[in-house]
């Protein structure tokens, strides 16, 4: 199987799965099983894809018939590459795990099949973005993902909060997409082609004519604005925590491997141009620096642990993007993509674990989740390793990738004129904060709480061995008891993700990511910073929830839970004025633009009355008078110009 076959298959399998699943909606459990089966096949294909991935510097776009629309070329080709293969494999894995989890989590939901179909379509769209070698395909995947996220977040559409969250997420990202669309339009129109290679070679000046740097910066900045929206970065960040209204599997998918990570993939594809566009890099750098610190601080103050994870995603995606904003040409986009890879693993692990714990506790509030980790040994282990990776502890997957991002920012800070210094400072502050909130999340869930009697069941045996059988055994037994114990496949998936969180960094050995050596000194420094962050929270453990040591008053808590009040700002600064303008426009349309029409009707009426006087016969309808007048004018003009 060649790499290009793999890319086509990875896009097509989920599309077909989505259609099939939707067709089977009358038998939801079968439909969900079909979707998971297809997703597991995708994982196998993804792993094969990693094995047959082309080496660096190999041209790997599909040779296809190029379409032409006027002067515009549209190759509409898919492609592959080493990082592409690695990212695609992890997307496939997360999607499969999410679907397996969904079968248990939404077992009694009446729209299980629709949910599974949407997840499949969502995966297909992300695969399209990952493999696209054509900006139009990127845009298609990008927008379809936005639409699927709307459907997933609004899945429980009987809840007003879910409806609002879905609406908000789509509108906020779509507003940012004004920039994305215009950026792509400008880049393609300039290059005369939507093909990625043609665009990159045109805008890097390889093709001969050197493009105007100013235009290049503006267009890339427009693309960056779209990325900031989709990746929930400042000032668009506020849709993501609200999106927690969606079912937990949807959150896991959106946060781990698809929607919010898509921006990183797109900017990595455009990296050769981005690295030349200083304005866009500054915009990106400043936005992500503000986001990563602000979101990490908010995560510490959340009263809801699921929202804590949401803010941690915002912060972590900022870290990925910061690598792209600061990387020099020699380093390339791979440190950012490596962090995407590791974030996908540990964030899906964390979300699925909290999905499980919330079923146990009946809520995602930190208060309710206190001590819930004792439900099962695996839950506690999974939560611990997920948080270790999130905090960036050395040697687990998240630690390794964060290390590379920090080194990249350092190289950028000393090596080129980009926003490296600002980003580096923000990164170091974020490391401390991340360690702090991760420690808090662990302390809450692992609290030795005597009051809660969590029924620990003797189910823990053999979970680790089950992990290795995941790929072969798509046998998904119907073992749902909603007393809080997931089915065996779910436990196996969680175990697999836990193992990957520990050893996932070994992907560095495959050479799929082009990474430079991390420095020992930076590793020591970050370990120290993590120690400080974790230590401070550890000391505050006596408060019950360590958060209470930092966020003391009710006012502060509300501020944290509201995300610094950005929702109000969106309403006051954007939605309000737009609606106000809309009312004015409606008034103008009714009273002014339509006014002259009524005037015309009135004058036609007068004309009709005059005609009536003249003819003393039945009244002609209002229009006829004017038509007659017009015909006379017409005939007159014709006669006058006739030669």
């Amino acid at each position: 199987m060649s790499a290009l076959w793999v890319s086509s298959l990875l896009v097509l399998i989920p599309v077909l799965a989505a259609l099939l699943t939707l067709g089977l909606r009358r038998t939801p459990h079968l439909a969900a099983r079909v979707a998971s089966g297809a997703a597991i096949v995708s994982v196998v294909v993804g792993i094969i894809g990693m094995a047959v991935a082309p080496t660096r510097n190999q041209r790997t776009a599909q040779p296809s018939d190029t379409f032409h629309v006027g002067d515009l070329e549209m190759p509409l080709a898919l492609g592959s590459g080493p990082t592409t293969a690695a990212v695609a494999a992890i997307v496939a894995l997360v999607a499969a795990v999410v679907l397996v989890f969904t079968q248990w989590y939404l077992d009694d939901d009446d729209r299980l099949a629709q949910f599974a179909a949407t997840v499949s379509l969502f995966t297909a769209a992300m695969m399209l973005v990952v493999h696209a070698r054509d900006l139009v395909l990127t845009l298609i995947g990008w927008e379809v993902m936005g639409w699927c996220s709307y459907l997933l977040i609004g899945h429980w559409s009987r809840k007003e909060s879910a409806r609002r969250a879905a609406y908000k997420s789509f509108i906020v990202t779509r507003v940012a997409d004004i920039g994305f669309v215009l950026g792509i339009v400008g880049l393609s129109a300039g290059a005369g082609s939507t093909g990625l290679d043609a665009v990159v070679s045109h805008w890097t000046g390889e093709g001969g004519a050197v493009p105007e740097p100013w235009t290049r910066s503006v267009l890339l900045a427009l693309v960056v604005i779209g990325v900031l929206g989709k990746s929930a970065q400042f000032p668009f960040q506020d849709w993501l925590p609200d999106a927690m209204e969606g079912p937990t599997p949807a959150s896991a998918l959106i946060h781990a491997a698809t929607m919010v990570a898509a921006g990183t993939v797109v900017l990595a594809q455009l990296f050769p141009v981005l690295v030349l566009a200083d304005g866009a890099r500054w915009l990106l750098g400043i936005a992500v620096a503000m986001t990563m610190v602000g979101a990490a601080a908010l995560a510490l103050g959340q009263s809801d642990l699921k929202r804590l994870l949401a803010w941690s995603t915002v912060s972590q995606v900022a870290i990925m993007l910061s690598a792209l904003a600061t990387a020099t040409e020699a380093i390339g986009p791979d440190p950012g993509l490596f962090h995407l890879w590791s974030h996908a693993i540990f964030k899906s692990l964390l979300f699925l674990t909290i999905g499980w714990l919330s079923v146990v506790a009946g809520s995602t509030l930190a208060m309710a989740l206190r001590g819930s980790g004792h439900v099962h040994q695996l839950a506690l282990v999974a939560w611990l390793f997920g948080l270790l990776a999130l905090a960036g502890a050395p040697f687990v997957v998240g630690g390794l990738s964060k290390e590379h991002v920090i080194v990249t920012a350092y190289e950028g800070a000393i090596g080129s004129g980009g926003p490296g210094v600002v980003v580096l400072a923000a990164l170091l502050v974020t490391v401390v904060l991340t360690a702090a909130y991760a420690t808090r999340a662990y302390l809450v869930v692992a609290a030795p709480d005597g009051e809660r009697s969590v029924s620990t069941r003797s189910h823990a045996v053999g979970d680790e061995t089950a992990a290795h059988e995941l790929d072969e055994t798509a046998v998904l037994e119907e073992q749902h008891d909603h007393s809080g114990m997931p089915s065996a496949p779910v436990l196996a998936s969680l175990a697999l993700l836990t193992v990957l969180t520990v050893v996932g960094g070994l992907v560095m050995l495959t050479g799929l990511f082009n990474l430079h050596r991390a420095s020992m000194w930076w590793m020591l420094l970050t370990a120290l910073l993590i120690g400080i962050g974790a230590g401070v929270v550890w000391l505050a453990r006596g408060y019950g929830d360590p958060r209470n040591a930092f966020v003391r008053t009710v006012r502060q808590r509300t501020l944290a839970d509201n995300g610094f009040g950005f929702d109000t700002a969106y309403r006051r600064l954007v939605a309000g004025p737009v609606l106000w303008l809309a009312r004015i426009v409606e008034f103008l349309d009714r009273e002014v633009v339509d006014g002259y029409v009524r005037g015309a009707a009135a004058s036609a009426g007068i004309a009709g009355w005059l005609t009536d006087r003249g003819h003393r016969r039945e009244a002609p309808s209002a229009g006829v008078g004017l038509v007659a007048l017009g015909l006379i004018v017409a005939a007159g003009t014709a006669v006058l110009t006739w030669r």
Partner: protein, 496 residues
């Protein structure tokens, strides 16, 4: 042969239905009309593939010929009209406007539908400027009957106002267009649309601008372009469902088609001069329509205003003057025809079930009580907001590309492209506003189910056909683009 059949079958049957067969029982009239629409539609599809020619002398003194021919630009529109024609006649089994008090007979209604279709098919196939104008006018009167007599049964005054406004407005537009056509034909010495571009090339620039101005304003009423659009919401709100569908999917297309055929093709230099103004009007239309949709309470009016916004994109694409622009305009045209037809069928169905489509009234969520209708509505809304994979995306994306690199006036058109892109975000806001009010909502009790019975039978077939078309054009835009490519290349090439 196919051409004659395409025009004769619906034309003759339509005429007979509104005159001799007026008293025909509804059941018989429906079958007769459907057969006529199907024969005409089938012939239209055959003719679009075979591309036969009819060319006879008609008014020799004026050089006007009885000349019908289908090329790449008109073929997709002919097929669209043929399919829509069959669907609207079929829809007479679902909605029966002749049963409301004060309306005429069923046969008149069906005959009017057939006559509108005939006129539109003739206009798209006409290759003679004067013949085009006549066919264009043939459409107006039956449409006026549809709005005035078979429209909203709740208010006779509104019907009269909407139909009078429609006829008055479009008649003024037509008159200006006629003046333009006569001027053009007289100066160029031929009425043949194929020969006009070359013949008109020698005209002075002042004359070109004047002709382009007259033709463009006349046709802009029909498109409609801001600020000449106010007849559209009134007409759409009042017209019966089939009338709304015909208005959106066929009549508006006559406007853009006319713009391509007359000013763009024949007096490109003159059109180039006024293009910036038109582009600005188009861009304002995108924003204007989008903003009104954010606060409009009547769902039918809302869809009508969204039409204004979408046609803004089409006009913007046209003004770029490039090949991409024309392609984008033609594709956007077809896409809008299919999408708005779908939305009007659904909204018309809702109005029939609910009595009104006021968005301020709380009603059971479609997703809960009638999932099929709800799915179709969401599909239509998603297509309307330009979701890739559905029909609307390609026309809008290509329109923006075209406006980014126009032949002239780069600065103005780029600004317009930015404005139009902002309008696309407004489209998302209002489409999802409708979805949030109508599609999703709290679970309702069982007795509410009767209020919005799910779609089935013929209505489902009509909706499904349009939905499939929306997806097909979205997934395979080259189905349309390949048909139009050569004709567009000739048109733009001939202009230079």
């Amino acid at each position: 042969m196919a051409l004659i059949l395409m025009l004769l079958a619906p034309g003759a049957v339509g005429l007979w239905l509104v005159t001799g067969g007026r008293a025909l029982a509804p059941a018989t009239a429906r079958v007769v009309a459907l057969v006529a629409a199907a024969i005409g539609g089938g012939a239209a599809v055959v003719a679009s593939v075979m591309r036969p020619v009819i060319d006879r002398a008609w008014i020799t003194d004026l050089g006007v010929r009885w000349h019908f021919e289908i090329d790449g630009i008109s073929a997709p529109l002919i097929v669209l009209t043929a399919v829509i024609g069959i669907l609207v006649v079929g829809h007479a089994w679902v909605e029966r406007p002749w049963e409301s008090p004060g309306a005429g007979s069923a046969a008149t209604y069906l005959g009017s539908l057939l006559l509108v279709i005939t006129g539109a098919l003739a206009a798209f196939a006409a290759r003679d400027a004067v013949l085009f104008f006549i066919a264009f006018e043939v459409v107006l009167v039956p449409m006026w009957v549809l709005i005035g007599r078979y429209g909203d049964p709740h208010s006779a005054a509104k019907r009269a106002d909407a139909s009078a406004r429609f006829i008055l407005y479009t008649a003024i537009g037509s008159t200006l267009m006629l003046v333009g056509i006569l001027l053009l034909v007289a100066r160029a010495g031929t009425a043949d649309l194929g020969a006009l571009p070359r013949a008109a090339a020698g005209l002075g620039s002042g004359e070109q601008v004047l002709i382009a101005l007259l033709l463009t304003i006349g046709l802009a009423v029909k498109v409609p372009v801001f600020p000449l659009h106010t007849w559209l919401p009134a007409a759409h709100t009042t017209a019966p469902t089939a009338g709304s569908v015909l208005l959106a999917a066929v009549l508006l297309k006559l406007g853009t088609y006319g713009l391509v055929r007359l000013p763009v093709a024949t007096v490109p230099d003159g059109f180039g001069r006024i293009a910036p103004v038109l582009a600005i009007a188009g861009a304002i239309g995108v924003i204007w329509g989008g903003l009104i949709c954010l606060v409009e309470r009547d769902l039918k009016r809302l869809i009508a205003f969204s039409s204004v916004a979408h046609m803004g994109f089409v006009v913007l694409a046209l003004t770029s003057g490039s090949e991409i622009g024309l392609q984008a305009a033609l594709l956007g045209n077809i896409a809008h025809g299919v999408i708005s037809a779908l939305l009007f069928v659904i909204v018309g169905g809702l109005k029939q079930r609910w009595g009104s489509v006021d968005l301020a009234v709380v009603r059971p969520a479609l997703r809960e009580v009638s999932p099929r209708l709800g799915f179709a509505l969401v599909l239509g809304l998603a297509a309307g907001l330009g979701l890739p994979g559905l029909a609307g995306f390609w026309g809008e994306f290509l329109a923006l590309v075209a406006a980014w690199n126009p032949v002239h006036h780069t600065g103005i058109l780029r600004t317009c492209a930015v404005i139009a892109a902002v309008g696309a975000a407004l489209a998302a806001a209002y489409a999802l506003r409708v979805a949030r009010i109508v599609w999703v909502g709290d679970e309702v009790t069982a007795d509410a189910v009767d209020q919005a019975a799910d779609t089935r039978g013929i209505e489902l077939a009509v909706i499904a056909t349009l939905a499939v078309a929306v997806v097909a054009i979205g997934v395979g835009p080259f189905l349309v683009l390949d048909v139009t490519a050569d004709a567009v290349a000739t048109l733009v090439g001939g202009a230079r």
